[in-house]
């Protein structure tokens, strides 16, 4: 018996409601068990995505975040509690996720994703969920995923609105096909503009849904479009994006994994 078969036998009942879906089935659940997903940012978008990906049975999850838990995080970053204040987000997230699924391998990367470590960290996973709140990190994830030929699932919010998209999937458009260059003006994030806690929950779960679609092959991934959700009026728009022939970014430097992960 392979490890997957042992896990399957043990967890058949746990995942039975998911396996019952004909588009998922045993094969889809096995793909979920064997998948490796990296979530960059364990905040408002990352927490709900991590929670569901773990409970759905993703085999290996990486979490990148260098931040510490603060009181103003708690209303929306649902993996943390008041006991975790001041602690490392990745470690507190790991502790909470372990309770949901003890078999999930959770790798913590308590670092700021940088040009120096991005390729090493991202290289260990099948796909990336971009749950950051910083525009430069988004371009770094995009360029690294393009150079390593990995898909990534973008999510971002502004007040009551969210954007979500699957980029660099099967040679589809990338974030640079939508916004080619980093904006000169600073774009404000949740800390500056406020956020209603449920919005990152909704967008983060849309990202997790797209991840499961890429892993299992069911449905149509949101590739070639950017989805726009408006909580205030419950409107959903899908805007088509064309692939642009942008210059392939220089391959990021590969470093020793030991150096890229702060203990």
């Amino acid at each position: 018996m392979t490890l997957t078969e042992i896990t399957m036998a043990k967890d058949q009942e746990k995942y039975i409601r998911q396996i019952e879906l004909p588009e998922i089935g045993t094969q889809g659940q096995e793909r979920i068990f064997n998948s490796k997903v990296l979530v960059v940012g364990a905040g408002g978008l990352g927490c709900p995505a991590l929670q569901y990906l773990t409970s759905m049975g993703v085999g290996t999850i990486g979490i990148v975040d260098f931040d510490r838990v603060s009181l103003s995080n708690l209303h929306r970053q649902i993996l943390y509690s008041a006991d975790d204040l001041g602690q490392s987000k990745v470690e507190m997230a790991k502790k909470a996720l372990h309770k949901l699924n003890t078999l999930c391998v959770i790798n913590t990367h308590d670092v700021l994703l940088s040009k120096k470590n991005a390729a090493t960290i991202i290289g260990g996973y099948d796909l990336v969920i971009d749950a950051t709140d910083m525009i430069p990190a988004r371009y770094l994830i995009n360029d690294t995923c393009v150079s390593l030929n990995k898909p990534f699932i973008y999510g971002a919010i502004y007040k009551y609105q969210g954007q979500v998209a699957v980029f660099n999937y099967q040679n589809g458009p990338t974030y640079r096909c939508l916004f080619p260059d980093e904006p000169k003006e600073k774009i404000q994030n949740c800390d500056q503009r406020g956020v209603l806690a449920v919005l990152p929950g909704i967008i983060g779960l849309m990202q997790a849904s797209e991840a499961i679609k890429l892993i299992t092959g069911f449905g149509e991934p949101l590739s070639g479009f950017v989805g726009l959700f408006d909580l205030a009026n419950m409107q959903w728009d899908r805007i088509k994006i064309s692939k642009k022939s942008t210059k392939k970014p220089d391959a990021p430097e590969i470093t020793d994994p030991q150096e890229s992960t702060k203990i």
Partner: protein, 80 residues
């Protein structure tokens, strides 16, 4: 010929225009000209990064809009 443009503003753009939606009448016009006209009405748009979609598809500046259309002004979002 005059036609109606239903314009949707997203994110920070909606804060600059003070509305999420408006309808304007226009002759055949390029996206570049439309953006120039909107910037005259809302000068702070000058400093903003955004893309323009026509009928749910991102179009280049030189694209011509010569029919009733749904326009969206789409800025990058940073929050997470």
């Amino acid at each position: 010929m005059n036609h109606k443009l239903h314009i949707k503003y997203f994110g920070q753009i909606a804060e600059i225009t003070g509305k999420s939606f408006e309808i304007i009448s226009s002759d055949s016009i390029s996206i570049e000209e439309l953006v120039k006209n909107l910037t005259e009405s809302y000068p702070s748009l000058r400093d903003q990064e955004f893309k323009v979609a026509v009928d749910h598809e991102i179009k280049s500046k030189s694209s011509q809009i010569s029919h009733d259309a749904e326009i969206a002004l789409l800025p990058p979002f940073a929050g997470g």
